[in-house]
């Protein structure tokens, strides 16, 4: 019986299993799991060359520099090597080179100046600027025709979603808004700034009128995944005058406009090509309601290609034509000297500059970078031709993990340029020929604990045939129609820059420049200190993110006084003019809106210490007494609201 029950159980189980299997066979099949979705993630990055000379500031750094008012091009004055002329003014001597020897570029487009008149903000909206870099020597090969330094701004990549920023301050308002379209293939942006300083200033000084405006426009379109077309337009307008006894005297009235169309191609092998063309218009008002103007047409192209893993090659060329024109006065109505000056600067003509270059970057090992470039430029003006070769070499060699050796050599030619950059004003006929700079520097970079970086560089630059108001024997002449080329100038010194990225929660910087600029120093031209020499420039500052949206930054700046004027014996006896020191402060309270939006209330003061800058000394031989004359105090407060998407 037991055996029979076991058999029955087995049969029952088998029957159940069979039934179950049949039932399962009759059920509909379960759906197959979906294929995993593959998302393509594109990571774009810009490989930054570790140039031994360049200083860079990114968006999140320059915005917090106290006294810069959020402007990238003002923020660079924290960098070493810049010797200010007067506190607050955006004119510098860079390693001894005068302001006329400094070139300003935005996306490789040359512009006459970066700031509005006097203390005005930059001409490019901060929202559009990704990075600003200062090249004091051995510039990248695509930059040339300036013997001093290059200040270059690079705009941000087009957005993948709507973004913008706006600022409303006591004396001006501005903003920039950019949005993608066509499914992200294109983008379009517009912005600008409008000042209402006229109304504000008239409350305190009715006779003064200061007005400035600018605009920035950009449109991009990806023709293919690797081919982008960009149209970038921007311009600036400045006006300053004083009205006395019903007569308005215009100090400065100028405008410039640029329209740049470029095509960027990124090949599969990583090589990049850019071809671009630029048109521009500059105009400056002269005395008696006359104008100087120029139309600029330019084209440039460059190709960058990697030759293996260690070598990168760049070749390029550019050409610029400045079509000058101006309202010449009647030769009968003005003095001979004034007519000569007007003719020298404003007579109709076309000046050209054509350049070509080849550059190679060698990275044999991680951290190594050796860049050699050979550039040449040909200048023409009113039948005169000049050739300016410009070889350069930059070296960065890691000695140890935390220490790298830096060195740079370069030759930089420059055509004659007016002492202060002004649109549509240039010398006719290359008088006196090209100026040249011979640049030499060497130093080291240290990676320190707590993400600090220390860079120390010694430099020696020699300049020949440049123009500056500081001439022979310190004589300063503002009326010469063609200021003779300056005596040979040499500048030497030491730059020290200790910093922690300003975008960190706690950041600090210390910048020191010890230098000497000397005129002459040849057998026929005795050596003497440049009238604008400052023995030292020292800055120290910090940024603190205090949490809850509060961020504060402060800076202390001091620099040495000018040497005494050599033809004032009493002043010479007293030595240099007094040093200058000032403090800047910035306080921001930010409220976050959504994921990326923000509103900030910003209070910022340049020269909150109310310091005066001694610029002259007047001595009376009868009494033997001297009195220092000071400029200022130039205190610039800024209170405003900023917002961004």
């Amino acid at each position: 019986m037991a055996r029979g029950r076991r058999l029955s159980s087995v049969a029952l189980i088998a029957a159940c299993l069979t039934t179950l299997g049949e039932a399962r066979a009759q059920e509909p099949a379960a759906p197959a799991p979906p294929d995993p979705k593959v998302e393509e993630v594109v990571v774009l990055g810009r490989r930054e060359p570790k140039s031994p000379t360049v200083h860079r500031m990114k968006r999140d750094e320059y915005r917090v520099v106290p006294g810069a008012f959020g402007d990238p091009f003002r923020a660079i004055d924290v960098l070493p090597g810049l010797v200010p002329i007067v506190s607050g003014l955006p004119y510098f001597y860079i390693r001894g080179a005068p302001p006329s020897a400094v070139g300003y570029f935005v996306d490789d487009v040359r512009i006459p100046y970066l700031y509005h008149f006097a203390l005005g903000p930059g001409v490019i909206q901060p929202a559009l600027v990704e990075e600003v870099s200062l090249h004091p020597a051995a510039f990248p090969a695509r930059y040339g025709r300036y013997a001093g330094g290059i200040v270059a701004g690079t705009t941000r990549d087009p957005p993948s979603e709507l973004r913008g920023e706006a600022q409303i301050r006591v004396y001006d308002a501005g903003g920039y808004l950019e949005t993608p379209f066509a499914g992200g293939r294109g983008s379009v942006g517009a912005g600008g700034r409008y000042s209402y300083t006229a109304g504000i200033i008239s409350l305190a000084a009715q006779e003064l009128t200061i007005d400035y405006r600018d605009y920035n426009l950009r449109a991009t379109y990806d023709l293919t995944d690797r081919l982008r077309l960009t149209l970038f337009g921007f311009g600036s307008y400045d006006y300053a005058s004083e009205t006395e006894r019903g007569i308005e005297e215009v100090f400065f009235a100028s405008e410039f406009h640029r329209l740049d169309l470029r095509l960027d191609h990124r090949a599969r092998d990583g090589s990049t090509t850019r071809v671009a063309t630029t048109v521009g218009f500059d105009r400056t008002r002269l005395e008696d309601a006359r104008f100087a103007q120029s139309v600029i047409t330019a084209a440039r192209a460059r190709h960058v290609r990697a030759l293996g893993n260690e070598v990168e090659l760049e070749i390029g060329a550019d050409v610029t034509a400045d079509h000058y024109g101006g309202d010449l006065p009647s030769p009968y109505a003005v003095s001979f000297e004034r007519y000569d000056q007007a003719f020298a600067f404003f007579s109709p003509r076309t000046d050209t500059a054509t350049g070509a270059w080849v550059s190679g970057r060698f990275r044999p090992r991680p951290g190594w970078e050796i860049t050699g470039a050979l550039r040449g430029d040909v200048f023409t003006s009113a039948g005169k031709i000049a050739l300016g070769p410009s070889p350069r070499l930059g070296v960065r060699v890691p000695l140890k993990k935390e220490i790298a050796f830096l060195a740079a050599l370069g030759v930089a030619p420059q055509p004659p340029a007016f002492a202060i950059p002004v649109p549509a004003v240039g010398y006719r006929g290359l008088p006196g020929g090209l100026g040249f700079a011979y640049q030499k520097s060497a130093g080291a970079e240290f990676s320190l604990p707590a993400r600090f970086t220390l860079r120390t560089v010694g430099f020696h630059h020699s300049y020949f045939n440049l123009r500056d108001f500081a001439q022979d024997r310190g004589r300063i002449d503002l009326d010469e129609p063609q200021i003779e080329p300056m005596s040979p100038l040499q500048a030497y010194g030491l730059e020290v820059f200790l910093s922690r990225k300003l975008s960190e929660r706690y950041a600090a910087f210390m910048s020191a420049t010890l230098s000497r600029a000397q005129l002459g120093s040849t057998s026929s031209d005795p050596s003497r200190v440049s009238p604008f020499d400052r023995t030292f420039v020292f800055q120290i500052g910090g940024v603190v993110d205090m949490g809850r949206g509060w961020r504060t930054s402060a800076r202390f700046l001091t620099y040495g006084g000018w040497p005494p004027e050599p033809d004032e014996p009493l002043s010479v006896r007293l030595g240099r003019l007094p040093a200058f020191a000032r403090g800047d402060l910035r306080l921001e309270k930010r409220w976050t809106l959504g994921e990326t939006g923000f509103v900030s209330f910003v209070v910022e003061v340049l020269n909150m210490t109310g310091s005066k800058d001694v610029t002259a000394r007047r001595c009376l031989s009868q009494t033997g007494q001297c009195e220092d004359r000071a400029f200022g105090p130039l205190i610039v407060p800024s209170i405003g609201v900023e917002g961004g998407l």
Partner: protein, 274 residues
């Protein structure tokens, strides 16, 4: 103080301040060279054929502007020009309105500092212009104790020929006379905005060889100066200086003089404003 001016300009303007200027114009002369001045042959009474190869002048054009009432102000401009050409010499930047204008031959005070010669040049070759800034071979006129004196105001290069004899005279003369009274009493012209108002200036280089009364020309004394010197065919200023003239042939009946002084005294008479 100079650096203060610099950065004031840096703040304010590096191009001239743009104010409305009062209306101004220019006053001066348009020259009218005689045929001889232009190089056409001229025959003297003693049979010499003169050809003036080069005549260059240095002078000051002066304008006296009459403002309201009896007040006035003067301006001048220096010129170097080729007398053979028709040119405009003038003073610019004069307020519109009535003005008197005159011209006189005048050399710079020599020696000059570098860049001090601000005269305008018209049709003058650089090497010829440079002679006006150099002390001539005969020395400076009325040089003071420090060695400063008036430089040349007239350079004449003339070729003379007579019956196969050829002489060449190349002299830099220091001539000039004050015409202040002439300026004040001269004709009044009206200065107009952005325009040049002119008088005619006749230039007769042949007046160098005329006596004070405008009498006929004679060249024999000049030729003799070379014969008495080194007889090389070139009449130099030194040879002219060495050739004394008797009163009957000199510019003055009361005292003797030399040929160089005679020429220099006649220099101003080659200009005749009309």
């Amino acid at each position: 103080m100079k650096r203060a001016l610099f950065f004031a300009a840096a703040i304010a303007a590096c191009v001239p301040a743009s104010e409305e200027l009062p209306p101004t114009g220019a006053a001066g002369f348009v020259t009218e060279p005689s045929p001889a001045t232009r190089g056409e042959p001229l025959v003297t009474i003693d049979g010499w054929t003169l050809v003036f190869e080069k005549v260059a002048l240095a002078g000051d054009v002066s304008a006296l502007v009459r403002t309201s009432g009896v007040s006035s102000y003067g301006r001048s401009a220096g010129w170097l020009w080729d007398a053979a050409q028709v040119v405009e010499i003038y003073v610019p930047a004069i307020l519109v309105g009535p003005a008197s204008v005159n011209v006189e031959l005048r050399g710079n005070y020599l020696p000059l500092s570098r860049g001090e010669d601000r005269r305008r040049h018209l049709g003058i070759a650089p090497e010829l212009a440079d002679r006006f800034s150099r002390v001539p071979e005969q020395g400076l006129a009325n040089a003071n104790d420090y060695g400063y004196g008036r430089g040349p105001s007239l350079i004449v290069i003339v070729r003379a020929e007579n019956e196969g004899r050829v002489k060449r005279m190349d002299v830099a003369l220091t001539s000039g006379f004050s015409s202040r009274s002439a300026l004040q009493d001269g004709p009044v012209i009206d200065i107009r905005e952005d325009q040049l108002s002119v008088r005619t200036l006749a230039i007769r280089v042949e007046a160098l060889f005329e006596d004070a009364s405008g009498g006929p020309m004679s060249f024999a004394d000049f030729a003799a100066a070379d014969d008495e010197g080194n007889a090389d065919g070139t009449i130099s200023a030194v040879e002219l200086l060495a050739h004394e003239l008797t009163p009957k042939t000199g510019s003055s009946a009361n005292r003797s003089t030399d040929l160089l002084a005679l020429l220099s005294s006649r220099g101003g008479s080659i200009l005749a404003p009309r």
